[in-house]
Symmetry: C2
Subunit: 248 residues, 2 copies
DNA sequence: CGTCTCTCTATTGTCGACAATAGTCCGCCC
DNA sequence: GGGCGGACTATTGTCGACAATAGAGAGACG
């Protein structure tokens, strides 16, 4: 798999700029990880990747730094990088943190003060619908991602949005991890789109609490039920949390 | 200023490992930024730094990536890096986000479940006291930093702690920015230490709400009052926020 | 006199090669 | 036979040089 320029063919915000090698490399490796080519715990060997991607090591190393800060890999000095090995504790951190960021975004961003931010959400839903029509699983996942990011973007809080993006990526990592163990989505793509439309209408309605309630439904409940038992707990704290969460 | 190995002489967690160039470089440049050698808006030119630090560009570039993700610099393709230019909107983001992360940490981490985490806090206070006795401003600031990080660490939430660290760094950037405009601390070092001791006792007490109340007092109120009027507002959202915040 | 274009330079982006380290495998000694 | 020490290899860390870009400045044209 060599690096290619067609990241987000439909709706990226980049116009004609030739992306740098490190962005390209980061995107490629990210896809490998989220797509399940590289699994949690796998070593990420620089030489192997430079060969596959056709670039040299320095930009690749920068790309790996980016992925590290996105939480997708971990690096230790002189020992190289590893796709973040997930324990239950990691899942705990990811889910709780992500939820909290969403809460904050809703609190800050609703009711919506700037029309253009809502447009971004609608645009995402629109592209999501197109993807659903095409039965394009990859695009559906991508636009789903964009939608949630756009919702968080309603807060007009760049740092919050960046952090959320990172968490969302790690959430996808969790799901890539689980892909082997279970049927991914029981829900039809159409229902999925509808659910997002409904969320967006609630958002337009302007009541933060309603939005939070809707998000509560939106989520990870089924994901948490399907966690494989083989998962390393990582901490008692996380185990207690999962139990409490499942009991709800 | 060449790179040196003596980062955190007192209490770093590294034992004998010779740190890599990129860590060293990141630490050096971080110091330049937080110490006010490089001011918000200043261009960060790679060649200049490689010369000053005595290292080559690839590791420096990795270091700059790190600093970018810490929020201390911004990079745009082919245009290089700039020390994050602060607008009021940035201050708004930093302060609100930081506060929210503290809130989350307190909610998750208190009452404290693991004794060792509290030890880390006490250790930080102890070192803070030593720094105060030595009238060592730099060490005081550093240990103050560590203390807050340790408090957030009570949550046992790695990702939260990392995010908080980043926000705390950006907070220091704000303060470095303001250093020129006003007298920094009106409070004696001793009172400062005492305030932290009190906070820690409230923490041991185990009531999250009490801790939050204490943190509320702890903070940025005076900082917000002293913001220079020359600061670019950045957004109406931020201006409204500052007004509301000052009215409290 | 202003503006537009073209060159020219400062700076960033990328590369291939060299140095240093950690983990491994083999032989050796007990 | 098992544990220990030492070379070897795979991999990461670092470097200097080359390529490509963006911005600034000088010159020509309207």
């Amino acid at each position: 798999m060599a690096v290619t320029g067609e990241e987000r063919p439909g709706g990226g915000h980049r116009i004609v700029k030739p992306p740098s090698m490190v962005e390209l490399a980061a995107a490629s490796v990210r896809r490998m990880i989220l797509g399940g080519t590289l699994l949690p715990g796998d070593r990420v060997i620089e030489n192997r990747l430079t060969e596959e991607l056709g670039i040299s090591r320095p930009p690749l190393r920068e790309a790996l730094r980016m992925l590290e800060h996105e939480g997708l890999i971990r690096q230790s000095p002189h020992r190289g990088a590893v796709v973040t090995p997930l324990t239950l504790h990691d899942v705990y951190e990811i889910v709780t943190f992500r939820r909290e960021l969403e809460r904050m975004a809703v609190t800050l961003g609703i009711p919506v003060v700037e029309e253009s931010r809502l447009d971004r959400c609608w645009e995402a839903v629109r592209r999501m619908e197109q993807a659903a029509d095409r039965r394009d699983e990859a695009a559906l996942s991508e636009t789903n991602f964009d939608f949630h990011l756009a919702v968080v973007g309603l807060a007009g809080h760049q740092r919050l949005e960046t952090a959320y993006r990172s968490l969302q990526l790690q959430m996808q990592l969790c799901m890539a991890f689980n892909r082997n163990a279970r049927a991914q989505r029981r829900e039809s793509a159409g229902a999925n789109v509808l659910r997002h439309r409904r969320l967006l209408r609630v958002i337009e309605n302007g009541d933060p609490d309603e939005v939070l309630a809707e998000l509560e439904q939106h989520g990870d409940r089924t994901f948490l039920d399907d966690l494989p038992d083989t998962l390393d707990p990582g901490s008692a704290q996380a185990q207690r949390w999962l139990e409490a969460e499942r009991a709800r």
